[in-house]
């Protein structure tokens, strides 16, 4: 299939339709509105339904209904809207329903700004909603990768009966790049025999539920969820790393920030510095093990984010105290520059920080 030039937000929609997603429930919010607009145009052409809900809360609960009814379904929003969706996301996780949720992050807290940010890392990887649950969280760094992850993400959601989140930032939503749509790796997807389709008089009623009033039942349900999360951790970690066995400094960054880090690394290499990169593609499950491969005499790990330091906590967990962990970030819609990253790397090499 040939490549087509697409804007990030529209590519998300095209990838979802390619993956067989027929239902989209959403609510307008900048900077992701091109996605619902695309779905409003394109979903009816494939026999699907686009519905603009009265709120993000309603939209995610429509997703809960449609997912429970057995459909491939998605929603999208941006940071404050994703906050509103947390109730439904927790119910989806509790009732083990597959769906895809896209967060094109903007600055916070509160109404924040409409500029790109990565300030929802905690919210995405630490729950956000109530209860002991996890989402599979993908952080694509370019549009092709985002398209691939969306197509695979629907399968991952179905395979594990778990919500999947695509965590992008305003930059990846707005940029244009050539993409092609490729089928994902083949997975054995289970029948959705749990879905509410009407009994047809042929089976006992199916119930979609996250309520377990007896403590022993709720504990058992949580143990089952944790066993599932363990399997996801074993099988679904994705990470890109570069030159970490030989590096004097390793940068860790995700999403579009990792692209800026790569620019900085290329410049540093020309000056003779040995700098590696660990780019988590899944933020949950987090690629902790990758950090074990870092050159033992590495002088430090620099985490770069468009926030005031969130993933840096996971980096600290990952390095287990073996290396100093430094942080450089810009926030509020400000974007880190390669020059600022270079300056930080040089300081680490020179023992200044």
């Amino acid at each position: 299939m040939s490549k087509v030039l697409m804007k990030g937000n529209e590519a998300i929609g095209a990838a979802a339709i390619q993956a067989g997603c027929k239902y989209f429930f959403g609510y307008p919010i900048t900077p992701q509105s091109e996605l619902p607009e695309y779905m409003a145009r394109e979903l009816p052409k494939v026999g699907g339904v686009f519905l603009q809900a009265e709120s993000e809360i309603a939209a995610i609960n429509m997703v809960y209904g449609a997912a429970g009814a057995g459909a491939r379904v998605m929603t999208s929003s941006s940071s404050p809207g994703i906050s509103l969706k947390q109730e439904g996301i927790s119910y989806l996780a509790g009732a083990e329903l597959p769906c895809l949720i896209v967060n094109i992050m903007r600055g916070g807290p509160g109404l924040g700004s409409i500029q790109p940010s990565q300030t929802d890392y905690f919210q995405a990887t630490r729950g956000g909603g109530n209860g002991d649950y996890r989402l599979v969280v993908y952080a694509p760094a370019n549009i092709q990768e985002m398209v691939d992850l969306i197509i695979e993400g629907f399968d991952v959601a179905d395979q594990y009966r778990n919500p999947v989140m695509i965590l992008g930032d305003g930059m990846i939503g707005q940029m244009m790049e050539p993409v092609e749509f490729k089928p994902p790796k083949k997975r054995d997807l289970p029948e959705k025999d749990w879905a509410t389709t009407g009994t047809g008089g042929k089976r006992k009623p199916n119930i979609i539920n996250s309520l377990y009033i007896a403590p022993e039942d709720l504990e058992a349900h949580n143990i089952k969820l944790q066993a599932k999360y363990k399997k996801i951790k074993e099988n679904e970690v994705k990470v890109e790393s570069y030159n970490i066995e030989d590096a004097d400094v390793v940068i860790s960054a995700y999403g579009t920030t990792a692209r800026i880090a790569k620019t900085a690394i290329a410049k540093l290499e020309k000056e003779g510095y040995k700098v590696g990169l660990i780019r988590p593609i899944t933020l949950w499950p987090y690629p902790y093990d990758e950090f074990k491969k870092i050159n033992p005499s590495c002088k430090g790990v620099l985490t770069v984010e468009m926030n005031t330091g969130q993933m840096v906590d996971d980096v600290k967990i990952a390095v287990e105290g073996k290396f100093p962990v430094h942080f450089y970030g810009r926030t509020g819609g400000m974007v880190p520059t390669p020059e600022a990253i270079i300056e930080n790397v040089k300081k680490i090499c020179g023992g200044e920080i």
Partner: protein, 248 residues
Amino acid sequence: MTIVFERTKGLTDVETHYCPGCTHGIIHRLVGEAMVELGVLEKAIGVAPVGCSVFAYNYFNCDMHEAAHGRAPAVATGIKRVHPDKFVFTYQGDGDLASIGTAEIVHAAHRGEKISTIFVNNAIYGMTGGQMAPTTLVGQKATTAPGGRSEEHSGRPIRMSEMLATIHGAKFVERVAVNTPANIRKAKKAIIECFKVQLEGKGFGIVEVLSTCPTNWGMTAPEAMKWLEDNMIPYYPLGNFRRPEEAE
């Protein structure tokens, strides 16, 4: 001998958790009977609320979803858009529908969503222990209105049926009560008519059922029925507010 009344197949064999004399049991039965009589039980998908009827998914003998508080109409929307040929209903209390879920019910009606809603109004939060609801009558005592609801402080109780009947997409709106056998029979007729509006693809339908809460009202079940008649019906008049032919 002919059996003229027996347990409907629309309900499972599970005994309900409701307090003695709670009218949820009557309303569940009417919904179950209506689904069987219309022949839709096997294609029915129901949505249970949060509140006393949170376990309704154990009682209706059809596929069920348990929704978050107030969100049942949004959940039902998701289901119905996936399965437009199925029969989809929500069963909600007054805290659920008339307080936290006002946006969801108003907009499901506004879209003319082809679902049916059973709205059980007992003028109190039952499950959480008798707090004031948006439907609690002026002067009626509740644990969060210990001196009785004050109009000055909390406003007058909300009349959902009258409000929803102003929305074009709401094609069937009726208020009934289950305080006497005669009213219970009328309630069943209304539920059947409401369900038919969905089955005929005409739009959104709701039946508001005035109900009792003997436990939190602090009365016996027979006293509660009398209280409903003397206090609720005068403020919440029974009757039909909208039929499809009137909606145009």
